[in-house]
């Protein structure tokens, strides 16, 4: 029992490209927040692209082989892989379950990657990871409860779908982020747009579509009584942060859940993460006395 507990506190870390670039604040906040609750992350050596943005549209085999290679690299360490980026998580998890569900796929993939995969490790996203560890430590570390912060949790499409590959949470009403947010002392608002599309797939090509979709999300969040949106996906974050078409004063700040952990833990570097946001969250945080 105690053994599994300690094991759960260490993860192999897969940042992926977003966290190394546009989603840098997600990377920093994840590392800092997890470290603060005693979780140790070891970046997977020589990790490669997960194939999220183009590979899976072009080649089914490449889309599985790329993430599988990373999993194979991670396996010797015997740690579950934490992929904070929802897209990365999705690709790694789909690869993991595809080879587990179909021996033929497994064989073919191992031929391509030229290495065997034992299937002994699992991919987790940030919410899974925290749920595994339990919220006890998180609750205990909260020094500035996010009292009064009314927010909707936006999981996006990649954390729960396709349900046959990403078994576990309810594909339409996941609750992990809501529970975490509540543990931080904030007030998660229920809405039914948790896993709707934000349009990230068309982020560049059809910004008009994205604006419509993001507009709907912002409206629904407001209707639900929220003043902020919380995500666990760098694409969702970028999209919603960038594509709100309303008056600048009316735009809703978007947080990474890990940034909020940092704020609630009272980590001094937390404010520096927020500087990258396009919709400035500081006025809201100031209004609520959370800074």
């Amino acid at each position: 029992m105690t053994e599994t507990k300690t094991a759960a506190k260490r993860f192999a870390y897969y940042p992926g490209c977003s966290l190394k670039s546009s989603g840098g604040e997600y990377d920093h906040s994840t590392r800092a927040a997890l470290k603060h609750i005693g979780v140790e992350l070891t970046e997977i050596p020589d990790w490669v692209c997960c194939g999220a943005s183009s590979a899976h549209n072009l080649s089914h085999e490449l889309a599985l082989a790329l993430p599988l290679r990373t999993l194979i690299l991670a396996e010797p360490a015997g740690l579950d892989v934490l992929a904070p980026c929802a897209a990365c998580y999705n690709r790694l998890k789909v690869a993991e379950t595809s080879v587990a569900q179909d021996p033929d796929v497994k064989k073919r993939m191992e031929e391509i990657v030229e290495k065997p995969f034992g299937g002994s490790i699992k991919t987790v996203n940030i919410l899974d990871a925290l749920e595994q560890i339990g919220f006890g430590e998180t609750r205990a570390r909260v020094v500035k409860p996010l009292a009064g912060l009314k927010a909707v949790c936006y999981y996006g499409c990649l954390l729960t779908r396709p349900p046959k590959k990403l078994t576990g949470s309810d594909p339409d009403n996941p609750t992990g982020m809501d529970n975490l947010l509540a543990a931080l002392g904030a007030e998660p608002k229920f809405w039914s747009y948790k896993t709707d599309c934000c349009g990230a797939g068309h982020a560049m090509a059809r910004s008009d579509v994205v604006k419509t979709l993001v507009g709907k999300l912002r409206e629904a969040a407001e209707e639900a009584g929220a003043e902020a949106i919380v995500t666990a996906c760098p694409m969702c974050h970028a999209n919603i942060d960038m594509r709100q078409e309303t008056e600048p004063g009316n735009r809703m700040p978007v947080f990474f859940i890990t940034e909020l952990m940092g704020l609630a833990f009272g980590l001094p570097q937390a404010q520096s993460w927020l500087k990258k946001h396009l919709v400035d969250p500081l006025p809201l945080l100031k209004k609520l006395n959370l800074l």
Partner: protein, 1525 residues
């Protein structure tokens, strides 16, 4: 019975003598009920085995049924009652089949029956147990939308009408309590505000509720399931609260503010039972008046034994009195409880020291027959350090005792207490209160290791005690002989790796405390000196008395020991438990019983938490805290630290309980039940049943979308419901008593969306089949919903509307056109909830083909039917196969056949289906079993033997009256003795009495005695409802030797005590009036004869198609003769030319050959071909029918009269070619012509490239307002065949709705997989067929593409209607059987009597009833045969004497009676007067009510009787008026 038949049966019974004339029916729903009734009515014994506590299945949960809009409960409950009362049906509830052995005809079945905890032979269904049950569990009948008690009945009309107790486990709190007090029980009673009841529950296991409510360490709370949610229920505080209320009354404690206690005495069931205990002579001695001794003494005294308690101290109570400080347990409270014990007959002798090795001997010498040693552990442990004997060094126990007894303790100002346990804390806090200025507590343990409760340490600290952890005493220094300083060394470890006490010290770290008082409290031990010198009482090395753990016996017979002196120091409740246990042993010892026999705790079910669902869905509610007195105030005095709850707090806290049991074991039901029917010692029972055949009808479950179809937010959004939940909203007995209410705001919705195919036709959830019933039940729910809320809009989102059954399409059209239900052809992929209003947003494709979004206030998911969770087990046990969806796989042409001989299938076990199809199949399955066991008919039935009937004609009426109390149902409202006294004054009444439960078996026997003793010739019972109890009481009359019609019934429950609950006076008067009326009427009752008429045990079957032939064979195979008539020259009907294979692929022509060969060769079937009916005379049991046959080449025309007892009409129907100009074109054909072309490989179809199939040709329109049911399946079947034969061919099916219900949906899927193109057109926008030169043109407006499409097919197939046979009109006239507007015959009831005509003895099956596929016709034919056998198998029919009689002198032959009779019985006879045959009359009374001349009277309901009855009632009521004025 004809001679031939007799011979036949005899010979069969000789060869088949090993078979058993009994059938087991598995299931309790409508199918199981129908199978059971048919078999039982035909002389077979039936064992109906259901895993539920009652029968009824899903039908009892429906509000209304389609297409008749009948109330489901109203139509099913008479059936329930019939099953329940049937002498040949043995209902085995709460049971599962475990094993089946043997062979067809002779099976041996093992059945496991679960404990009901209520004795079925005693329960009368009075509901008192449910009334006092404090537990709330979700009610499955109401889809968990509301709650009922742990003592429950699934629904009020349940049959058998027995309650059951939901008792799966012991709640962990009860199990954790050493005394096994029903903690959940008293907590839940508190939640209901029943505080006195709650206190009684505690007292049942513990005579010290107030004491324990204060000092108990409550292990119950540690195990409380709520720990898994938030914090445990404050069980102990609640116990204190209820005991404090009593103390308040006694003036012991101050009043808790707040609500009053409920004062209704009827809610205190413990008062209803007075224990009748015999006084005993054997004296028992108890040594020690602590909790163990006093508890044992109390229980023994309650058991009738004289008990004397010897106490060494000047006070009783043991450690409770002298070990627990006043601020934790006031002496007054302890005294109060001890006085209660004394009042029970316990004598306590204080200052009486019994000790020494001969102490026990002395007691025996004084005449005590048993001795209980419970002297506790009052001796302090010594530290063993020098200086311990200095002044100011005190022992903890002694210090506390002196303080409690107000003796001088000798403490100073600077006090040091040594010890980490609770006693040490008590010492420290007591010292503080005795005026010490500095109190320090030191112990070996670190803070976390301290054995004292953490909250006690906190409280001590808050009062100013400072705690020094991890120190061991090094030396005690004294100045002037008094202790002055204690030196400590660091304790580095208290326990070793093995968790043994093994302290290690580090001398280099030291400290010291300056003191003037040093209290040592490091443990205590017993002071036992009964051993040695042959005393026989053995004492262990630890100084404890050695006892047998289970029985508390010491080594000396008759001497028992318990509490701290036996087990070492422990908590009070442990001692109480010991005392309780010892009392049981001592009583058993004195009674000479086996002391090791199971005890209370051995019989408890295992302890587990509430189920996971309850835990995960429990709301988090913080625990209510008891108020505390401010530390600054309390540390100066001995007032109690904590204040008790207010009643509101207590109720709120108690409501946090999660009902783990779910039964709380409070035993209130046991106390209230007047029949002593509650039996908590029941266990599961295994039984064996011998049967000849088995029918499996376990039914279905509805699809639960939770977690399986998450996109609709079911279980997440407030206002999304399943259709079965909506059904319960509509039902008057549902959770909202018939109102449609939103969960979010409890308002009626203004608009409702129904989403179809939820869990059906959906591969993502694994259910690709169509559930067959949802489209219709949705239409019904929308219609009934609108009747409840006329302003409510209903919109149905669907793929197809499947209204394929008889009269279904009319219903659908009415829903649309009359009720305004909107239908949108669009599948809904997801629902959004608006947070502010909790309304729901649906996005769909609108009429115009564009995306539309609409807001709804409620959404109803039309959930499909799924196999039951028990299907797999049933299949494994019985060796039948399940299909990939979990339904039973059956013979495609005979859906009742499981493929295993002797094991048949009925209802939704085979395939999702509606009620009439289930009922039909159930009768069909019964028929199959009857054929197997024909020779054993009647062998397992023992008819009731009645004494000869006494002739009472000419006697003066001597009326007996019995007034029923129905437990509390009537008795608590109506003054029953007053009614009895009143009845005695009525003229003609010679005997009147009351009864507790009139219907209980002992009372029925008593009625027989009373009738005989008083020579009664009339009897009146005033009790409950005629519907359920009349047959039972009439049977009792017969057993008493009276004609059953010399009885009258008054309903003083439903009509009186229930409706006038608030006004007992008026209710009593009304009971008198109703009874007086019944007495007045019964005096005019005559003994009526039961008509008997002989049955001609031969059948007539009209129609030689597959249905007729099947029906004929089914009867003939049971040994009875059948006449089968066919108007054509050959048998076969439509099979001959039109059908070649079924949708499922079965070869129909083989079936035809098989059937005709069997029929033609059957010795008991006489076939008349080219035959028609000329004349019909007679009635059920005996018809004379004149047949005439046409002249043929081989035979002359002839006229024959056949005599028969029943008739089955299977006159069939035909494909109808409407008048269209294209029939001459060879490319145009009907669907069945296409079938034949495919069968024969006709080139016009095999070589066609483009084939267009048009559905619904000249049907479902103004000409023919019905759906022919078979065309969609045929079109699908044929298009699959076309594609299989020629994949290159293009097949286009133009349709309105594809109605491939059930597993036929898979064929539809197969057609689409093969590339058949299905094109939907709108209702009323039929495709246009024309000819352009040689080319055929079909143009259609595609409703999906919103485009006109034009085809030029090589073959054009038209799905034309099926119409009834043209002979139906004549048959209707001859047999007086009604046909509907479409020309099909009308069954007696669309739902529950699908193959009966209203007139008895006449049955229908096949297309004559309605168009349907072959397998359904075959099934229906067997069903008709099964129904007919009920008449045919009898030698004579018995007819109720209660029939209409015509007074010819008054009759004007106005024909009113002829017109109103629903059974077509009255006719105008040769004297030109109405005549009603007693044999045919059903006694309904319609004619008597309608006759303008009052020429018709129905016996028992004669006008003179009714007038007398009413006069009696009114004159009594007038008396009351006068009196009250």
């Amino acid at each position: 019975m004809t001679e031939e038949n007799v011979n036949q049966q005899e010979s069969e019974s000789k060869t088949g003598s090993e078979k058993i004339g009994a059938v087991m029916v598995v299931g309790g729903g409508i199918a199981a009920m129908q199978s059971s009734l048919d078999l039982a009515d035909c002389g077979f014994q039936v064992h109906m085995v259901t895993n539920q506590p009652c029968i009824g299945g899903n039908m009892v949960r429906l509000d209304k049924v389609f297409p008749t809009n009948d109330c489901s409960m109203c139509i099913v409950s008479p059936k329930l009652v019939t099953v329940g009362n049937h002498p040949n049906i043995n209902i085995v509830t709460m049971s599962d089949v475990q094993k089946i052995e043997g062979e067809p005809g002779r099976f041996d079945v093992s059945v496991n029956k679960r404990a009901r905890y209520i004795d079925e032979s005693k329960c009368t269904g009075c509901a008192e147990c449910a009334g006092v049950c404090p537990v709330h569990i979700p009610n499955p009948t109401n889809e968990y939308l509301n709650e009922f008690g742990a003592a429950f009945r699934l629904y009020p009309q349940a049959v058998p009408n027995w309650f059951a107790i939901e008792r799966e486990r012991t709640s962990p709190c009860k199990s954790a309590c050493p005394a096994h007090i029903s903690c959940q029980g008293y907590v839940q009673l508190i939640a209901e505000g029943r505080f006195k009841d709650a206190l009684e529950v505690v007292r049942a296991r513990n005579p010290f509720p107030s004491v324990c409510g204060r000092v108990c360490f409550h292990p119950c709370e540690e195990q409380c399931t709520r720990n898994k949610v938030d914090e445990p229920v404050a069980i102990n505080n609640l116990k204190r609260f209820i005991s404090d209320l009593e103390l308040e009354e006694a003036g012991i404690v101050g009043k808790a503010s707040g609500i009053d206690r409920p004062t209704d005495p009827s809610r205190e069931p413990w008062k209803t039972k007075e224990k009748d205990v015999a006084e005993r002579e054997e004296k028992v001695a108890v040594i020690g008046a602590g909790p163990a001794g006093l508890t044992a003494a109390y229980r023994l005294a309650q058991g009738g034994f004289p008990v004397t308690v010897f106490e060494r101290l000047p006070v009783a109570g043991g450690m409770l009195a002298v070990g627990i400080p006043e601020y934790r347990l006031p002496m007054a409270i302890l005294k109060y409880e001890i006085e209660r014990i004394e009042r029970a007959g316990v004598e306590i002798k204080l200052n009486s020291n019994i000790d020494g090795a001969d102490g026990v001997d002395k007691l025996f010498n004084q005449g005590f027959k048993a001795v209980y040693i419970a002297v506790g552990a009052h001796k302090d442990m010594k530290l063993g350090v020098s200086g311990e004997d200095a002044a100011g060094v005190l022992s903890g126990i002694e210090f506390l005792r002196k303080a409690k007894l107000n003796e001088e303790t000798g403490i100073g100002k600077k006090v040091l207490v040594l010890g980490g346990g609770n006693v040490a804390i008590d010492c420290a806090r007591t010292a503080m209160r005795l005026g010490a200025s500095q109190v320090t507590l030191a112990c070996l343990e670190c803070r976390e290791e301290m054995p004292a409760w953490q909250w006690e340490i906190h409280e001590a600290e808050s009062e100013g005690v400072s705690v020094l952890n991890s120190w061991g005493v090094k030396a005690i220094h004294a100045t002037d002989g008094r202790v002055s300083k204690v030196e400590f060394k660091r304790c580095s470890q208290v326990f070793d790796e093995k968790a043994c006490f093994n302290p290690m010290f580090d001398d280099s770290v030291a400290t010291s405390v300056e003191v003037d008082t040093f209290i040592i409290s490091i443990g205590q031990r017993p002071d036992v000196n009964f051993s040695g010198n042959g005393s026989g009482v053995k004492v262990s090395g630890r100084g404890t008395v050695v006892v047998n753990e289970k029985t508390a016996e010491t080594d000396r017979p008759g001497v028992f020991a318990g509490g701290d002196c036996a087990r070492g120091p422990w908590m009070a409740i442990g001692a109480i438990a010991d005392g309780q246990n010892a009392a049981v042993s001592i009583m058993r010892y004195l009674n000479g019983e086996d002391m090791t026999a199971p005890r209370y705790e051995d019989e408890m079910p295992p302890a587990t938490d509430a189920d996971q669902k309850t835990i995960s869905s429990a709301a988090r509610i913080p625990r209510n805290k008891q108020a505390e007195v401010d530390p600054e105030v309390r540390k100066k005095s001995f007032i109690e630290v904590e204040k008790t709850y207010s009643p509101e707090q207590a109720v709120a806290e108690a409501k946090r309980c999660l009902s783990c049991g779910p039964c709380s074991d409070c035993r209130m039901c046991e106390m209230i039940c007047q029949q002593n029917a509650i039996d908590f010692n029941q266990t599961d029972v295994d039984m064996n049943l011998e049967v000849g055949a088995v029918i499996l009808a376990p039914g279905f479950e509805t699809f639960n979308p939770k977690g399986r179809l998450t996109q609709y937010g079911y279980g997440v959004y407030d206002n999304v419901y399943t259709s079965i939940e909506f059904e319960r909203f509509l039902s008057a007995s549902g959770p909202t008593v018939g109102h449609i209410r939103r969960k979010s705001d409890n308002k009626a919705p203004k608009n409702v969306a129904f989403i179809q195919c939820v869990g059906s036709r959906d591969a993502t959830v694994g259910n690709e089949y169509c559930s067959g019933v949802c489209c219709m039940y949705t239409a019904k729910e929308a219609v009934i919903g609108k009747e409840h809320e006329p302003d409510m809009d209903c919109t149905v989102f669907c793929i197809d509307v499947r209204a394929q059954g008889k009269n279904f399409d009319r219903y659908y059209e009415t829903a649309k056109n009359v009720y305004g239900v909107k239908y949108v052809r669009s599948a809904i992929s997801g629902i959004k909830e608006i947070q502010k209003t909790k309304n729901l947003l649906l996005t769909y494709m609108g009429e115009d083909g564009k995306q539309a979004t609409q807001e709804f206030e409620m959404v109803v998911l039309a959930v499909g039917l799924e196999p039951t969770s028990t299907n797999r087990k049933i299949a494994d046990i019985f060796g039948v196969k399940l299909n990939e969806y979990g339904f039973c796989e059956t013979d495609p042409l005979c859906p009742t056949s499981s493929g295993k001989e002797g094991i048949y299938v009925a209802g939704a076990f085979q395939c999702p289906k509606d009620i009439p199809d289930s009922v039909t199949q159930a009768s069909g399955a019964a028929c199959a079993a009857m054929i197997d066991l024909a020779a054993e008919r009647g062998t397992r039935i023992t008819p009731v033997q009645y004494p000869p009937e006494r002739d009472v004609a000419g006697e003066e009426p001597r009326v007996g009256v019995m007034i029923c109390r129905c437990g509390f149902n009537i008795g608590s409202v109506v003054d029953v003795p007053a009614v009895v006294e009143y009845c005695k004054t009525l003229q003609g009444v010679v005997h009147a009495e009351e009864s507790l439960y009139t219907c209980s078996q002992d009372n029925l026997d008593h009625i027989i005695e009373v009738v005989n003793e008083h020579k009664l010739n009339r009897f009146v019972i005033s009790s409950c409802t005629v519907q359920t109890h009349l047959p039972l009481f009439q049977q009792t009359m017969r057993l008493a030797g009276l004609n059953k019609y010399l009885f009258e019934f008054a309903n003083i429950r439903e009509h009186d005590s229930w409706v006038h609950k608030e006004n007992p006076k008026i209710a009593t008067e009304k009971a008198k009036e109703l009874t007086a009326g019944a007495v007045a009427r019964v005096k005019e009752h005559k003994a009526l004869e039961v008509f008997r008429n002989e049955v001609i045990q031969k059948g007539l079957v009209i129609g030689g198609g597959p249905a007729g032939m099947t029906a004929a064979l089914a009867i003939a195979d049971q040994g009875f003769e059948v006449f089968l008539i066919e108007k054509e020259s050959a048998l076969g009907g439509n099979l001959i030319n039109n059908i070649h294979y079924t949708v499922e692929g079965s070869d129909v022509q083989n079936l035809l050959i098989d059937l005709t060969t069997k029929v033609e060769a059957h010795p008991r079937i006489k076939v008349f071909k080219n035959c028609s009916i000329k004349e019909v005379a007679g009635h059920v049991g005996h018809y004379s029918t004149t047949l005439s046959t046409k002249k043929t080449k081989s035979e002359e025309a002839q006229t024959i009269v056949v005599e028969h007892g029943i008739c089955i009409v299977a006159s069939g129907g035909n494909e109808f070619k409407p008048d269209l100009p294209f029939w001459d074109d060879k490319r145009v054909m009907t669907q069945s012509e296409l079938g034949r072309a495919l069968y024969t490989g006709d080139k016009k179809i095999t070589e066609a490239k483009n084939i267009v199939i048009v559905q619904c040709v000249d049907q479902r329109n103004e000409n023919r307002k019905y759906c022919s049911k078979i065309c969609c399946s045929q079109a699908v079947k044929n298009s699959v065949k076309i594609k299989d034969d020629n994949p290159e061919a293009n097949v286009y099916v133009l349709y309105r709705d594809i109605r491939t219900y059930g597993f036929k949906e898979l064929n539809y899927q197969a057609a689409r997989d093969r590339g058949v193109v299905f094109i939907r057109f709108k209702d009323g926008d039929d495709p246009v067929i024309s000819k352009e030169g040689a080319a055929l043109r079909v143009s259609v407006n595609d409703d999906v593409l919103k485009k006109e499409l034009v085809f030029e097919p090589d073959a054009l197939v038209l799905s034309v209607p099926v119409v009834p046979s043209d002979t139906n009109g004549r048959l209707s006239d001859l047999f007086k059987i009604p046909a509907d507007a479409d020309g099909f015959f009308c069954e007696a009831h669309a739902k529950l009597r699908p193959v009966d005509f209203a007139s008895e003895g006449l049955y229908l099956c096949g297309v004559a009833h309605s168009p349907k596929p072959l397998e359904e016709n075959i099934q229906q034919a067997r069903a008709a045969a099964s129904r007919a056998m009920i008449i045919l198998c009898k030698d004579y029919l018995e007819r109720e004497g209660m029939v209409a009689q015509v007074n010819e002198e008054l009759c004007a032959a106005c024909l009113t009676c002829v017109r109103v009779c629903p059974y077509n019985v009255p006719f105008i006879n040769e004297r030109n007067r109405a005549q009603i045959s007693g044999v045919e009359c059903q006694g309904c009374g319609c004619c008597a009510a309608a006759c303008p001349a009052k020429a018709i009277q129905v016996e028992q309901f004669r006008d003179d009787q009714i007038i007398l009855q009413e006069t009696a009632i009114i004159s009594k009521a007038l008396q009351r008026e006068l009196v009250t004025k």
